[in-house]
């Protein structure tokens, strides 16, 4: 079943074309990685899919329905959660309170929302940090908190923007394990990532963007051998 589909997405910033005719599908239960060199348009595409940017043209279908006037809050409410490349913790709140803000989407009662947040804290092994202010966490835990907040909204589709960025090798291993667990629990995941080890290990499919155009779409091992992809990364 196709969960998310884009058709001919185009995005211009003035005279600069950052996405051109981007069409792809995300199937339920898969991990789709979106890779490409810096400036390829990955984050712009993420921002369009979550309503932070409006496409210049093109359509987005979610569960077969055409989505018009997308806003981030509408997308989240309908089951699409995202993380940010530069993490955005709610610095003045504790870890548990951060996650509670996410769980309040589905649980209107604060007590129930906190209970749900507690489950997420335990699941992500953040128990010993739950009462710490988000601003006091090191980067590895901030990345985890970013994911925890999104997970607490109980999404169907999770868009992860460079969750491995800035992590050491041990933390990368842990994050890979975690993302695989999410998928095993039924989540569909779109992953933007530069850490190739994670992309190759996790992805069912890889989509390669270069200068706003999809240049490859296939299994990780196929994509890694694609001459166009090698040229995009290493140069002609």
């Amino acid at each position: 079943m196709v969960l998310l589909e884009t058709r001919n997405i185009e995005k211009r910033f003035g005279g600069l074309l950052v996405l051109k005719n981007v069409s792809f599908e995300v199937k339920k239960g898969e991990i789709l990685s979106l890779i490409g060199p810096n400036g390829a348009g990955k984050t712009s595409l993420f921002n369009i899919l979550t309503g932070f940017l409006k496409p210049t043209s093109g359509d987005i279908f979610y569960k077969g329905r055409l989505w018009k006037d997308i806003t981030p809050e509408k997308m989240c409410a309908s089951g699409i959660a995202r993380t940010f490349q530069v993490v955005k913790p709610l610095n003045g709140l504790t870890v548990l309170e951060n996650i509670t803000v996410g769980s309040l989407l589905k649980y209107k009662n604060l007590r129930q929302a906190m209970r749900k947040a507690h489950e997420v804290v335990e699941y992500l092994d953040l128990l010993e940090h739950k009462d710490k202010l988000a601003s006091s966490l090191p980067i590895g835990l901030r990345k985890k908190l970013e994911i925890a907040k999104s997970i607490a909204t109980e999404p169907e589709l999770l868009l992860l923007d460079e969750p491995m960025g800035g992590l050491n090798s041990g933390e990368v291993e842990e994050m890979i394990k975690l993302i695989r667990q999410f998928r095993d629990n039924g989540l569909t995941i779109v992953l933007v990532e530069h850490v190739m080890k994670a992309v190759m290990n996790l992805s069912d499919r890889v989509l390669v963007l270069n200068q706003g155009v999809i240049i490859a779409n296939g299994k990780p091992e196929e994509v890694s051998r694609d001459p166009a992809v090698i040229a995009a990364y290493l140069g002609e």
Binding site: C76, K88, G92, L93, L96, L110, S136, K149
Partner: protein, 341 residues
């Protein structure tokens, strides 16, 4: 942390003592001057607490709240003078009007960020002040309105100060309870999320405009009710007393000094700064003109410099209060990011 544990903290013994103390003092003190100070202390503490619902929890630093205060004062007074409507009813009419105006103002100004939002609220307050002076057929302009002293419960005029003390105290407790609700509710969490990061809040499904409109309506409405109390207590209002920008600044500064974004902070700010201002004016007002204001400003500066989280952080250091008291003091963490302590 469960909700009950959090509520226990909000109504701890220390806080109950702090909240009851001014009322008892006002009832015990025989001196009319000191009693007046305590009543004003409760009034401005409550106004600061009402402002804090928007300014502290949502981080929307309005410096135009005096407009809501004045709208409340004028609405109930004009209804009373012209149509003999009880100020008790006028108080709710003023609150409703202020809430509606707040929502309209918020719809226009919320897209503005940081100082631009603050300046727009200041401009709004000035517009309302100028209208109140110019529309003299309705407001009697700069001459102001004298409310005839005819005591009676329905007229919200009392011959005994005890009634004013109790009403001011009930207002203070009621607004404190609203702040506690904010701190322990979905709405409050959403406002705090917005304050910390608008993008993160929106990505978590929060309609940041709607939650802020709710906050401004509640904050403006409560501030307007205090305007009615002020009018009925002083029995005279004019644009320079209820619409003046000094009121807005006082409200903001009390919150800053006490602890912005906390439930008890703005009230503590009022406890310290209102009596200090009155004391300095009576002690130094005759010496060198304006000297008492210099000392007042200096005291405020020292508190903000050495207690950036507000006076409420003293309670936290003594291990009263709880984790929420740590929140609002902006500081830099070890990663260089600005956060709250």
């Amino acid at each position: 942390m469960t909700m009950q544990r959090s509520l226990k903290r909000e109504f701890s013994l220390v806080r109950i003592v702090l909240l009851v103390l001014p009322m008892l003092l006002a009832l015990i003190i025989p001196n009319a001057f000191f009693r007046d100070i305590v009543i004003l202390l409760m009034l401005w503490s409550t106004a600061a607490s009402a402002w804090n619902l928007l300014g502290g929890f949502a981080g929307q630093l309005s410096i135009g709240h005096t407009a809501f205060f004045g709208i409340g004062a004028y609405t109930s007074t004009l209804l009373y003078i012209n149509f003999s409507v009880s100020p008790w009813i006028g108080m709710f009419a003023g609150a409703l009007l202020a809430a509606l105006i707040g929502v309209v103002l918020g719809s226009i100004t919320f897209p503005l960020k940081g100082p631009f939002f603050s300046l727009s609220t200041l401009a709004f307050a000035e517009i309302v002040r100028i209208i109140s002076i110019s529309w003299s057929d309705l407001t009697k302009g700069s001459r102001g309105i004298v409310i005839k002293y005819t005591p009676g419960f329905d007229k919200f005029i009392f011959d005994s100060p005890v009634a004013y003390i109790l009403i001011a105290w009930v207002f203070m407790i009621a607004v404190y309870c609203v702040a506690v609700y904010f701190n322990n509710s979905r709405l409050g969490f959403y406002l705090m999320a917005y304050r910390e990061s608008e993008d993160a809040a929106r990505a978590l499904g929060i309609n940041t405009v709607t939650v802020r409109l709710k906050a401004v309506a509640i904050s403006a409405g409560l501030t307007a009710m205090l305007g009615t109390f002020y009018a009925q207590y002083i029995l005279f209002i004019d644009p320079e007393s209820v619409f003046i920008v000094d009121n807005s600044l006082q409200i903001v500064l009390l919150s800053l000094v006490g602890g912005i974004g906390t439930t008890i902070g703005p009230i503590i700010g009022g406890y310290i700064m209102v009596p200090l201002g009155q004391f300095l004016r009576s002690a130094l007002g005759d010496a060198v003109p304006g000297f008492h204001l210099v000392i007042y400003g200096l005291c405020m500066l020292l508190i903000i410099m050495y207690l950036p989280g507000g006076l409420v952080s003293l309670l936290q250091r003594r291990s009263f209060g709880g984790s929420r008291l740590k929140r609002p003091g902006r500081r830099r963490d070890e990663h260089g990011a600005v956060g709250n302590s």
